[in-house]
Amino acid sequence: MNNAVMATMDANEAVASIAYRSSEVIAIYPITPSSPMGEFSDEWASQNKKNLWGNVPSITEMQSEGGAAGAVHGALQAGSLATTFTASQGLLLMIPNMYKIAGELTPFVMHVTARTLATHALSIFGDHSDVMACRQTGFAMLCSASVQEAHDMALISHAATLRSRVPFLHFFDGFRTSHEVAKIQVMDDAILRQLIDESAIKAHRERALTPDAPKLRGTAQNPDAFFQAREACNGFYTACPQAVKDAMAKFAQITGRKYELFQYVGSPDAERIIVIMGSGAETVDQTVQRMQERYGEKLGVLKVRLFRPWSNQDFVKALPKNVRKIAVLDRTKEPGSIGEPLYQDIVTALREARDTGLLAGEPVVVGGRYGLSSKEFTPSMVKAVFDNLKNATPKNHFTIGIMDDVTHTSLDYDPDLNMESDDVVKAVFFGLGADGTVGANKNSIKIIGEETDNFAQGYFVYDSKKSGAITISHLRFGPRPIRSAYLITKANFVASHQFNFLEKYDVLDYAAPGATFLLNSPFGKDEVWDQLPREVQQYIVEKKLKFYVIDAYKVAKDTGMGGRINTIMQTCFFAISGVLPREEAITQIKKAIQKTYGKKGKEIVEKNFAAVDHTLAHLFEVQVPGKVTSSIKMPPIVSDEAPDFVKKVSALMLANKGDLLPVSAFPVDGTWPLATTQWEKRNIATEIPVWDSSICIQCNKCAMVCPHAAIRAKVYPGESLAGAPETFKSNDYKAPDFKGSKFTIQVAPEDCTGCKLCVAVCPAKDKSNPKHKALDMAPQMPLRQPEKENYRFFLNLPEVDRTAVRLDVKGTQFLQPLFEYSGACSGCGETPYVKLLTQLFGDRAIISNATGCSSIYGGNLPTTPYCTNKDGRGPAWANSLFEDNAEFGLGFRLAINSHKEISTALLKGLAPQIGENLVREILESKQDDEASIAAQRKRIEALRLKLKSIQTADARILEQLADYLVRKSVWILGGDGWAYDIGYGGLDHVLASGHDVNVLVLDTEVYSNTGGQQSKSTPMGASAKFAAAGKSMPKKDLGLMAMAYGNVYVARIAFGAKDVQTVKAFTEAESYRGPSLIIAYSHCIAHGYDLGFGLEQQRLAVESGYWPLYRYDPRRAGVDQSPLQIDSNPPKARLAEFVKNETRFRMVERQDPERFRRLLAESDTHAARRLALYQELAKPLSVGNGGNGASKEN
């Protein structure tokens, strides 16, 4: 009967496996956390895996979720079985098509990892706000609560949609379920075939649009017809629940796993129950059992599976007979509603049940919100909800899991209550992203899940930073399926894979009394105790922890593993946790290594084996002294000098304790303070640059390329050096512009990420020892303290006079960056552009930022990198959505124009009182350079003074708007995913509008933030997700398309190849009073090489002709020259030289060398043809070149 085999996987894989096999056409678009479903499908297709009918499904990446929905709609209408995967904003973009698909009664399943919708802020994490926005579309909605359920419900929905003709939205909780790795029973094709009704497929095909039997759909109907026609589908919705029940019954017959539309678990005579959907139901289920065992309370949980169409009969039938009080939990918030959707449904359902005689009495119902954006939902919270029901009048419209000290909605709960059973092993691992901890833990789960009878669960918490990111792995192993859909707080095993975490995080807070603690430590078993902070010692002594150490980095080095300590730490875990007998564990680890790397080469396997074998000899138990002896204290999270908000709010978030913050700690509308990264001293670089002032040629290129504004240049008067720290370095400034001044290059030792770009770009070599340059890398630890003081002194040196700086590479780097220490990847190729933008225009810039890497490093809490200058001016920044960024930015411009128009009118009106001269000067100011802008600011100051004495309403309005008379710089930032794909329509429109906006496209040639999916910017021959075999189409020429308008300033730049041109492009684009587009080559981790070579690769990209540099300036037209000027030399390197260094290309070569050579040859030809075209366009026209840029702003 039961053909299922056990396997460990996350829900994304479990669902994709069903969807893939049950579909013929799959249209996808990446969005977290659903992207892996599309990626799995694409990979399986590239491996020629077949669906149930022996075909490889067609996988198509679209330009947006809206596009994906349109494509599946078309595929369905043409008779295919189609599916798609999405979440959050992506799901919102599908809504218009969802109405259509449902209105046309089309069998279809979409799988959704339920995720928070962006409101006051974006969140990638899980709740039901997205799916709840679809409950009105006519889709059936089926919810899964666990990885196993997601696998099962995926199939049930594919089966039921075919039978019912009602399309299905199958959803499960983003991250908590989609990314949880669990041991499940997987279904083979035979099971799928038994559920999928071939006759229903035939019927679906018969309804297809075909010219051989033409049909017509999508008519426009009028008042006489629409209403009745809309009601014509009712029967299908009435029948749909039965179709689901039938599928569930058949499924149970085959697999033994029984599901119901509304599944009640708990005491049959429970008086208090919770109604809930999603992974929270698992936690309630577990808690109900435990509370019965522990407190003898008779409780129950009603799990809602089929939320739409709602079957009231089934709902009432599922209720326990004696139920008196019901708490309905919603994982969403609908501000202003009478209650959240599930609550409202239950109230209505019960009322109707009573009215129709289905139910005698009517229980008390209260509703509450929980778990927004993956907020923890734990057994103690469940207990609090049940306890609330004990009250005579239970609190309604409550929240659980937070402290609401403003509107007092929250229920109290006991965070220390432990409801987990003792036979479950719980392990927590702290690691660095780069050390492979998560990968090793996923491996361990596989080993335990697949090689023993134990059930296993893994959930991984990641950092909000992309460089030096911390990961926390939560692993459970036990004899029964694990229903704990929440993080571990009391672990039997805690490991810290990095020694310095002990100073930053409360690692051992996670340890249960008597737990085992494993530490990767450079100090041996006899020395380590004295190196631990007091707080850590205290935990070890008080909780009576067993304490082990290993110097994993040494073992890794000795065995040729480099910095990867994953295998070593995994071996330690098995050696001391006792989850498996030691010998067996080692055999299994080796088996897993063989499986992972076997195909990739014997050497790698051997190195890993050696690491495993060496580990045990270096693993030691530490004899713990009976008392705390250390004088080392955990340093404060942020400096005492930090602003109050940072100390009270940001610091808690930085310490991983943000959950403790009450509602009152937060701004009401998502507004967040700038300049907070400076308080987060991350100290993630092991080496930092050291400046040798004696050979430095003062070119400032190091500061220009630094992605984190962690190396800076200043020119300042000699007298400012008074009181300089002893090791502070300074030299005479060499150029004539600031004659007699001093010059310093200073590194921010605690903010540097150690990417080495500054050292790579440094041209100043020691002539007698060229190995030594004006910048060399040196270990950070010994430099930290002195350089910290030097940096503090440096920051207090006077800033340069902006009006006196020449705006070239060198000069711009004396300007204060107003974007610093972001969480971008070490060596990021985007952030140097963003930083340059803020140096040039930051004090008057307003930035609209498309969702993506740049919005994440630009605005992902806990800290914010955009900052202000000494006058309090700096970039105003906002992220609206992914798709609307250009339009959002245009809105900024329209508002600024309007403010300016109003203030101009008021100014003119008040001219007699203000003084005609001042008014004329203000209105006539060109504001085309720093000096004239500074002068205008002065005039506005004078204006304000005058206005003080004018007692009219107009004067008050002008006071408020006067700053808009100073020129503002509107910037629209985003990646290629936005500009080339999802936002292209809007971008095109904004460019065509003629308005004065500046668009900066940070072109990494893939969707970087979501993990390297191809965009239309991906080059031919490069491998990317959704183009695993290498993209076969050339990169879209966005610049050429924009040039076609004739009035758009367009520049294509690469700061690593020609920084002079980069700076020129920025200043020209900004000065142009029409639309400007800068396409900036940005090296990226998704290209697959050490980003320390990023500049070198940029140079090769340009020299090989792959990335020609140009500037198209409409102002040049008509003066006997072409607007287009090519700034790069004719190609002198071969394309092969550029591509050979990057994994994205090498992968294609490895897979199919011949195809790669063909693609490379085609790219070569394409590049040559494109260059020839540019050269043609760069020729002046003898008869003039049209208008000189019809811009709307002057």
């Binding site: 990979e43 050497e603 981790i1085 697959g1088 994994t1143």
Partner: protein
Amino acid sequence: MDLSTSYLGLKLRSPLMSGASPLADDMDMVRRLEDSGAGAIVMHSLFEEQITGEKLATIYHMELYSDSYSEALNYFPRSEEFAMGPDQYLEHLRKVKQAVAIPVIASLNGSTPGGWTDYAKQMEQAGADALELNTYTVATDAQESGNAVENRTLEVIRAVIDAVSIPVAVKISPFYSSLANFVYQLEDKGIDGLVLFNRFYQPDIDIELLEVKPTLKLSDSSELLLRLRWLAILSRQISPSLACSGGVHTGRDAIKAIMTGADGVQVVSALLRHGPEYLLKLREEMVSWMEENCYSNLREMRGSMGLARCPDPQAFERANYMRTLHSWGAT
């Protein structure tokens, strides 16, 4: 005209073969080489560093950022097809073997003992008719004696010979204190052939940028002379097959190599410059010269100018050096 020869125990229709180079990387090129009369094809060298280093590096770059960030658990497609280094080489070797009837000689390049020598066996399994082992090494360690360098190289060669049953040729550099003795030791290890010589790619330096610049210079006929001398010296002393590699650009060059004792003649630079069809021209030049001078096959000329048989053997030894110096002085 009979241009057939026996090299490494393989019967070749012509002594002219494409030497180890990227020429054989392209299937179209491979077919053109065969159509142009190549006696055999030597594939490009699979480097020791490629087998170990690059593979580790690629995996490193693919894994480095995986599982670190919630929105992107990795940054590259998890392709099962993604072959690393040698697998790709072996796959290509298989394809070349299928495409042509002439012998295909695989090439390995390495100088330190280690796991990479196992790939010799895999090359054999993938269908290689013979192996060419390139022992390119620059001895930079002042602590390592010439003897130690030689022993290390011999150990590598031993490991490869033990691993396979197909013939193994060794490609060496001319820089040994006693080349003849080293070759004697090679013979003792059981090699089937010797390729004279490796060409060293000598880096240049940039005196403005203070940087080392890798350079690749194609050979010309002047490089042939060194090969001729050693072919002449060695051909009388050892039994393994000899191949000349480096400096053959004309039919006459090829004839010189054969006359000094070569069984095979490898051509690279000329083919890179003029394309595989240049082999036809070389052959034509050889044939017309042989016709003019009444040779009917290569056996008649092979080794005729070797040390054992040439009329003035000292000329290949020290005397030639003196004479050359004198001639410089005279001009």
